[in-house]
Every structure is written in C-alpha cells, then in structure tokens.
C-alpha cells in the first residue's frame, strides 16, 4: 500500500493525492483523447453515448450520492435541458455556445425552484414527489405543442461552434471530443464541490440533518442548491442527448429513463464520480454486450438469433438485485476491494471493508 507523506495542507486540497495518481488519470485522459484513432465510427458513437450518460449520472449523483436526496424525476431535467437548448437555437437563433450553458442554467433554476417545496419531504415521499415531476413534464411537453411540437418531436440542428460543425453522423470524432470536453469539465466541477465547504454541507445534510443544522448549515437552502446544481448538470446531459439522438419527443425522456438513471448510479456505486462512470459503462454498453453474446451463443448452438423483448431491462434488474444483495457499494466498491487486495497481497483480510455496526438511532435527539 502506498503511504503518502503529506507535507502541506494542499496535499489534501489538490485534485490528486500523489503524483502516481495524477499520472494514471492523465494517461486515462490521453487514451480517451486518442480513442477516435483506435476505434471505428460505431464504437465512437457508443463511447459518446456512454459519456453523455456519465454526465447525467454525475448530475444525479450530486443529489443522491452526495446529498442523500432521492430523485425519480431526473428525466424531466434531461428533457428541460434538451428542449431549452434546441428551442433557444431554433426560436431565438442563439448559437450553441450560448444555448448550451443557458440550457444548464434553465434546468438548474427549474430544479432549485421545484426543490424548494420538496425539501421538507424525505425518503419515499421525496421519491414519489420527484416521480410526479417526471410524469408532469411528459404531459407538459405534449400540451405545449406550439413550442415543442408535441408528440411529433423536434430535430436538433447540427452544432456549429465558431464555424466548426459537430454532428454525430457527419463528424462523429469531433462530436465525441466535444462531449469528452464537457464530461471532463463536469468532473472538475464535481471535484471542486467535494473539496469545498459546499460538498461538506451536502454530506452533512446527507448524514444528519439535525447536526448539519447545529453546525450552521441551512438545510433547506443546501438541499435546493444541491437540486439546482444536480439538475443543471443533468440538463447539460439532456442537451447533448438531444444532439446525439438527432430527433426527440416527449417519449425520449420518459419515466423509465429516470429510473434507469437512478439504477445506474446505484450499480456504479453511490457517492463517487467513479460510480457514475462505472454505471454509465454498464448502461451504455449493456445492449451491445447482449447483442454480442447473443451472436456468440447462436453461433455456438446454431439456428437463428431470437430477439427476446425486455431482455435488457431484465438483465439490468437482475444486476441491481445482485449488487444490492452482495455489493451495496456498487462496482466502485468492488473495484476498491480488488485494488486493495492486490496492493496488500497477500495480507488482505476478508473483513477489511466491513463497517462497524452503527449505533441504534431509536433515541435520536434525546
């Protein structure tokens, strides 16, 4: 195991804890950057999709993993970001460079405003409340037909940044790089949250509202802020999804997407940026993995391929149950264990990550 000798407080404040860690992430970024030279168009599209899901996942993670508030309505903010971005371009003629950040701001403000009356709700009630937002948004898109074109949907125009075209089909590599840029920016902002008073206020609200309050944290305001930042990032992901899909309508961002997003970050591992990315890898690549294994199996057994409807959701659901039962910390938790195993080899103990039982809180506040 690596022992880090910290020589200044900055060692705990900086992005990376030690040089080797920085090297690994730089290497990862370098690989991500040259990916278009290594992969074909199809797989670059899949990677782009994965990154967009990761951005959306990070948005939800700030709320669920960092602040401990459930949301089953985040597809609504994907929709708000997506529609705002495209409508600002189509109706007001704004360039993408303006409409994109504005879409984030609009989704963020919407999230913070909606959160205000909801900050008093907890657990299942909050989940139901946010679920209602998702349903409502679906209906609102249909009702606001003159603007949104209802169930027919809208086309996302090709992105033009200072004369450069970014299109999923015409220039997939460039589109990928743009999404990668946004993803990296969101990671940096996320890290900034974690290392500043804001992130600690989120964690305080997540772990104990009474004592957060006793520390001077305005719980309602902090929750609303978390909602706002979370939905702003989700809105940005929605805007990218719109451009990636090319055409979208009220159905594009239905409740299933909300649920899928939540399951994704649970499977990935709640409370970490890694978790959002691991979850996104599962969500984005699962359909391909299923297709490939189906081909393999039918090649083996012979006979034609049978498409099984709902197979994807079933596997996804089974994975979720598996993780909740055997690895509540998600893929990231498993990854930490495997890493520690190799770092400490042969001294790893099975109970190393077992948490001490918390004390009963039946007597809270007394």
């Amino acid at each position: 195991m690596r022992t880090v000798f910290k020589t200044s407080y900055d060692a705990d404040i900086n992005y990376f804890r030690h040089g080797a860690q920085a090297t690994w992430y730089m290497l990862l970024l370098a690989i991500a950057l040259i990916l278009p030279f290594l992969m074909g168009t199809f797989w670059i599209g899949e990677m782009t999709n994965m990154l967009i899901w990761a951005i959306a996942g990070m948005g939800l993670m700030i709320l669920v993993g960092q602040t401990g508030q459930a949301s089953l309505g985040h597809a609504a903010f994907l929709a708000i970001g997506c529609y705002a971005n495209v409508l600002l371009q189509l109706k007001l003629g704004l360039p993408f460079l303006l409409s994109f950040p504005l879409a984030g701001v609009i989704a963020g403000l919407a999230g913070a405003l909606i959160a205000m009356p909801m900050t008093k709700l907890h657990g299942i009630y909050l989940a139901i409340g946010t679920l209602a937002i998702s349903i409502l948004t679906d209906d609102l898109i249909v009702i606001a037909e003159p603007l949104t074109n209802g169930v027919v949907g809208l086309f996302a125009p090709t992105i033009d940044i200072l004369g450069l075209q970014f299109d999923r089909y015409a220039t997939p590599d460039r589109f990928y790089w743009m999404v990668l840029f946004v993803a990296v920016a969101v990671v940096l902002v996320y890290r900034n949250i974690l290392r500043s008073p804001l992130g600690r206020a989120f964690a305080a609200v997540r772990d104990s509202e009474v004592s957060a309050q006793a520390m001077g944290v305005n719980v309602a305001r902090t929750k609303a802020l978390s909602f706002g930042i979370s939905t702003a990032i989700t809105g940005l992901a929605g805007a990218l999804m719109g451009h990636f899909a090319g055409i979208f309508n009220n159905e594009t961002f239905n409740i299933i997407i909300s649920i899928q997003l939540l399951l994704m970050i649970v499977i990935g591992g709640l409370g970490s940026i890694h978790g959002a990315f691991f979850g996104a890898i599962v969500v984005a690549l699962l359909p391909q993995a299923i297709a490939i294994s189906r081909d393999l199996i039918s090649g083996f057994v012979g006979g034609g391929t049978v498409a099984i409807p709902g197979l994807e959701s079933a596997i996804f659901g089974a994975m979720l149950i598996g993780f909740i039962l055997f690895e509540p910390m998600g893929i990231y938790g498993r990854w930490l264990k495997i890493r520690t195993y190799f770092e400490l080899f042969p001294f790893y103990r099975k109970d190393m990550f077992r948490r001490q039982k918390s004390y009963l809180k039946t007597e809270r506040m007394r």
Binding site: Y9, I13, R200, A204, Q213, M215
Partner: protein, 261 residues
C-alpha cells in the same frame, strides 16, 4: 448581563410537560452543569437552545439577543456549539471532514466561487484546515484524521463530536453527557479538556452529565432538574446534599441514585 438566559421556558409534548417554567442563567466563563434523573428534561433544554423545539412560553436570550427570533441554522453563527447525547456525526465522512463542517460558520466563499474553486476558496480551505488542526492536536485525534466515522469506536466518536463543536470556535459550548459510555480514563481526559476549554479557550460550558464525579470536578455551578422543573441550584456539593434532589433520585426515577456520593 449573563451570557445565556433561560427565562421561564415551558415545553409540552402532548400531555408531558418536558420543561416546566424553567429559568436559569449561565455566566460568561463558567462551567454550568445540568443534572437530574432520566427524563428530567435536560436534553430538551439543549434542543430548545438549538431551536429544534419552539417553547410554548418564555424566552431564551444569548448575549441579550432573543434566540427565538433566529432560525435553527443561525445558532452556530451566533456562537453556540453543541454535542448530542446519541452522537450525531456525519457517518460517511472522515474525522477531518466532520471537523471541517464545524467551520461552516466561518465560510466566506459563495457556492459559485466554490464550484470554480477560486484562489480565495483555496485560501479559505487552508485557513479552515489550520484551525481544525489545532482542535485535532488539542484532542489528540491525529491518528484518526483520515478515518471514516462509520468504523470508529464509540469513545473516539464522542471525542470527535466534541472536536466538531470546538471547530465552530463557539462562545458557548453545550455538551450533552460528554462522558456517558466512556471508561474512567476517558472520563478523566474529558475533565481535563473541559478545564482547558474554559481556562485556555475562554469558552463557557453548559453540560448535561450523570457522572457526579465529573460534575463535581469541573463545574462552577450545578442545576438539578426533575420532571421538567428546577429543583436546586448551587455548587455541586450543595446540590448533591439538597434533600429535594436526593428525594427525586430515590423516589421519582426508575434509575437509582447513580454516583451521587
């Protein structure tokens, strides 16, 4: 003027009068102990000061300013810090992060500058860290700095919670049973710390405690409560010898007279 004035405060939970027309005041610089049998209303007094509960009558003033005009999250900003009887730490965070939350009152940056982590935010983080390190040194928590609360033994959690309250740099520190569940040695540490908090840091301490050895050792004045009412006020010696207090412990409570010498 006293630092904290509890002025004729009453609070009911349904039929139970948890705090019944209680008045007392805590002077700046003293260690003031609240004692009394289980269910006497001691923690409820703390929760009233923290503004978790709204009294049905009476007033609570801190430095002459009525706390009832302030929302709960203002209390720390006014300079009142507290611990909880059943430890309310941030479980999924490290000791260091827990203590840093105590610095929230001293936060100068807004959320936008924090999202961008501007140089002034970094400067603030360094300052908060330096302040927290002083607390870590004071309470000897160095070995636990980067440990998650969820894995810490009970005794250490108690100390961390006290540290988090100290990180606030309060004028008044409320300690709810700081020694409950601690070993004799650990309780001795707590006694030393309370002495230092009072003498070196100049912080006023209001504490609830059942351990009368600790109470006698550190408190300047003691107030005995039973069934939400004030029974007796004086030095530890005087209160322990008050017939009304002895009666309350022997008669009214399911807990026998514990360590009342």
């Amino acid at each position: 003027m006293s630092l904290l004035e509890i002025d004729n405060v009453t609070l009911r939970f349904g039929g139970v009068v948890a705090v019944n027309q209680v008045s007392f005041s805590v002077e700046e610089g003293e260690v003031f102990a609240l004692v009394g049998p289980n269910g006497a209303g001691k923690s409820t007094v703390f929760n009233l000061i923290s503004r978790i509960y709204e009294p049905v009558e009476g007033d609570i003033r801190f430095d002459g300013d009525s706390l009832l005009r302030h929302p709960p999250h203002d209390i720390a900003k006014l300079g009142i810090a507290r611990t909880f009887q059943n430890i309310e730490l941030f479980e999924q965070a490290t000791v260091l992060q827990n203590l840093l939350v105590g610095r929230h009152r001293h936060r100068k940056s807004n959320f936008i500058s924090e999202l961008l982590f501007t140089p002034s935010v970094r400067e603030g983080e360094r300052r908060h860290r330096a302040a927290v390190e002083k607390v870590i040194d004071f309470l000897d928590l160095q070995a636990y700095r980067d440990k998650y609360i969820a894995g810490l033994p009970y005794g250490v959690r108690k100390v961390v919670e006290m540290g988090r309250a100290l990180a606030i740099e309060p004028r008044l520190l409320l300690l709810d049973e700081p020694a409950s569940g601690l070993s004799v040695e650990e309780t001795q540490d707590v006694a030393f710390w309370i002495e230092d908090i009072k003498k070196q840091m100049g912080v006023t301490v209001l504490m609830v405690e059942h351990d009368m050895h600790l109470v006698s050792a550190v408190s300047d004045r003691v107030l005995a409560l039973a069934d939400g009412k004030v029974l007796s006020l004086g030095t530890a010696q005087e209160v322990q010898n008050d017939p009304k207090v002895i009666e309350a412990y022997i008669g009214g409570s399911d807990e026998p007279e514990r360590e009342v010498a």
